[in-house]
């Protein structure tokens, strides 16, 4: 027996926040590659640092 949400539309779209964020990450990959190319591998350290801090504080 289906349970509806209280108001229309009753159809579910496929869009999710996770999907959106993965798209953002996808779009960042070329940027990271270009940065490493121009400014050296130090950029990767920055990125790793930023990502880990973000993950720790989010979780």
């Amino acid at each position: 027996m289906p349970i509806f949400r209280l108001s229309p539309p009753f159809l579910a779209g496929a869009n999710r926040v996770t999907l959106q964020m993965l798209q953002v990450l996808l779009a960042l990959i070329p940027a990271v590659i270009a940065m490493t190319f121009y400014f050296g591998p130090g950029v990767l350290i920055n990125v790793t640092l930023a990502v880990s801090v973000a993950l720790i504080t989010e979780a």
Partner: protein, 509 residues
């Protein structure tokens, strides 16, 4: 022969699920033992009963008259006896009751005398509109606006185009599709009358390209009527919400209906094929609007299809007739999955605006806890009215209603596209509806308080005027009194002096 099609922004490609209910012909639903007819099945003032409990009525007999201008009559869908006039649950999202007339049918289905008009051109447009009004015809697309008003060009407008909206863009619904396939001639009868009443120069019949059978049927019917040369069938791409009045106008004529204006302001009037068919039946056959085609479909309806159903038929009976797998108390949807509303009970009647009963949806949206808005802008991309739903959401939520108006909240057609694509699953349309009702309430309150203030001010003015008048009168009275007094005193004076003079002369003598 036609101009290139226009386009509207946004929109969605949705899975249609229409095949499910277009496998068989339109079937007639059997007459229920009891028919419940809400007095208000249209936009405007509720009809007023003109029958009493215990009266015998015939099929098609008028049982309630129109009240005021924006209103239509109501008719008995079958012969029988009136058993009750009073409150009954109606199919409304609020679950409220409303005044209804209940008829116990006798199964004979005996018609009243039908006044058929063979040549409607012998009558004036005004007479035809009156008949259409008396036949209780309202827009059968879903809103239920009295049709006779939309067939009146009025003195300020001239109507160039009659647009018949056969787009039927919402998933699952197929009642217009089936009607166009099976009763194309009847629809064209209505179109001729509508063109005559509107004095319109051309008619466009817009049909989405996912209905090839309907297009073929309408083309075939049209080819048999050489005098309808000003009518053309335009095939529009399938996209939700092409069937929205303003969106369809944009697609078909490349014109936009301005904000706060109606299509008639740009010379276009839009009607539903079902309405056209009803108009034809009313004028040429003398049959008032007493039934409609209802799509019954969904994942829990194995034999989905379209059913010609008398108004007042309990949805319960219809669902039993269609052999649905619905559990008792399972909620279902009236209307489509994008713009319809869910109903809980099934002891509710089919009304003039019930185009579809949907039991079970394929990709049903579960109740979800909305996440915060990430301002991705996907909602703005799909909005067919070019609004910014994320801003509207923000301001509706903050109850900043002036701002929502600045962002043209009232152009929102509540199509639900923004809701559908929102990754955070925010119930945007609910927010917009809330804001709209809230603004309308405020407006009403403002109007009321304006009236009250005016009344108060005029009362104060009146009191002041009365006080002044009283004072004036008093002053006048006083003045008059003083004048008479003075006059009297003078008189007395003069008599006194005369007397004195007399006595003096007497003394002298």
């Amino acid at each position: 022969m036609s101009a290139p099609l226009g386009d509207f922004p946004g929109g969605l490609k949705l899975p249609g699920h229409k095949k499910r209910s277009t496998q068989g012909p339109i079937r007639k639903t059997p007459i229920s033992k009891q028919l419940v007819l809400p007095l208000q099945q249209h936009i405007g003032a509720a009809a007023v009963p003109i029958v009493e409990v215990g009266d015998k009525v015939l099929k098609g007999q008028r049982i309630a008259r129109a009240e005021g201008h924006v209103s239509v009559c109501l008719h008995a869908p079958s012969s029988g006896v009136i058993t009750a006039i009073g409150e009954h649950a109606i199919p409304h999202p609020s679950g409220l009751s409303a005044p209804c007339i209940t008829i116990e049918t006798d199964g004979e289905d005996r018609w009243i005398d039908r006044q058929q008009i063979k040549d409607f051109r012998q009558h004036s447009a005004h007479e035809l509109r009156q008949i259409i009004r008396d036949a209780g015809i309202v827009g059968l697309g879903g809103a239920g606006f009295p049709s006779f008003i939309k067939l009146n060009p009025g003195v300020h407008h001239s109507v160039e185009t009659l647009l018949i909206n056969g787009a039927e863009c919402e998933p699952y619904i197929s009642c217009d599709d089936m009607l166009m396939r099976e009763r194309a001639d009847g629809i064209l009868d209505g179109v001729e009358i509508m063109l005559f009443a509107l004095r319109a120069s051309r008619c466009i019949l817009a049909i989405e390209d996912n209905k090839p059978e309907a297009i073929a049927a309408m083309r075939y019917a049209l080819s048999g009527r050489s005098h309808l040369s000003q009518t053309e069938i335009v095939v529009v791409p399938t996209r939700y919400p092409t069937g929205g009045e303003k969106q369809l106008i944009q697609v078909v004529t490349n014109k936009q209906v301005p904000t706060n204006k109606l299509p008639i302001d740009i010379g276009i009037v839009c009607h539903n094929p079902g309405t056209a068919y009803a108009v034809g039946r009313a004028i040429l056959h003398g049959e008032p609007l007493i039934s409609r085609v209802v799509t019954v479909t969904g994942t829990d309806v194995p034999h989905a299809g379209n059913f010609e159903t008398l108004f007042g038929t309990p949805i319960k009976d219809l669902l039993v007739f269609c052999e649905t797998r619905r559990q008792p108390d399972e909620p279902f949807i009236q209307g489509g999955p994008m713009m319809g509303y869910s109903l809980a009970g099934d002891d509710l009647p089919i009304t003039k605006t019930a185009n579809c009963i949907l039991v079970g949806v394929d990709d049903v949206a579960p109740p979800a806890q909305p996440l915060p808005c990430i301002r991705c802008g996907d909602c703005a991309d799909v909005c067919p009215a070019s609004l910014l739903p994320q801003q509207l959401y923000w301001y509706s939520r903050a109850k900043d209603f002036d701002k929502t108006r600045d962002y043209n909240l009232f152009d929102c057609i509540e199509c639900g596209c923004c809701d559908y694509v929102c990754p955070s699953k925010i119930p945007l349309v609910s927010y917009f509806r809330f804001a709209k009702t809230e603004i309308m309430n405020q407006e009403r309150e403002r109007h009321k308080s304006d009236l009250a203030r005016q009344r108060h001010e005029s009362r104060l003015e009146r009191l002041e005027r009365e006080a002044q008048e009283k004072e004036e009168r008093q002053r006048q009275r006083k003045a008059a009194l003083a004048a008479t007094k003075a006059a009297k005193a003078k008189e007395e004076d003069s008599t006194n002096t005369a007397e004195a003079a007399d006595s003096v002369t007497e003394e002298k003598a």
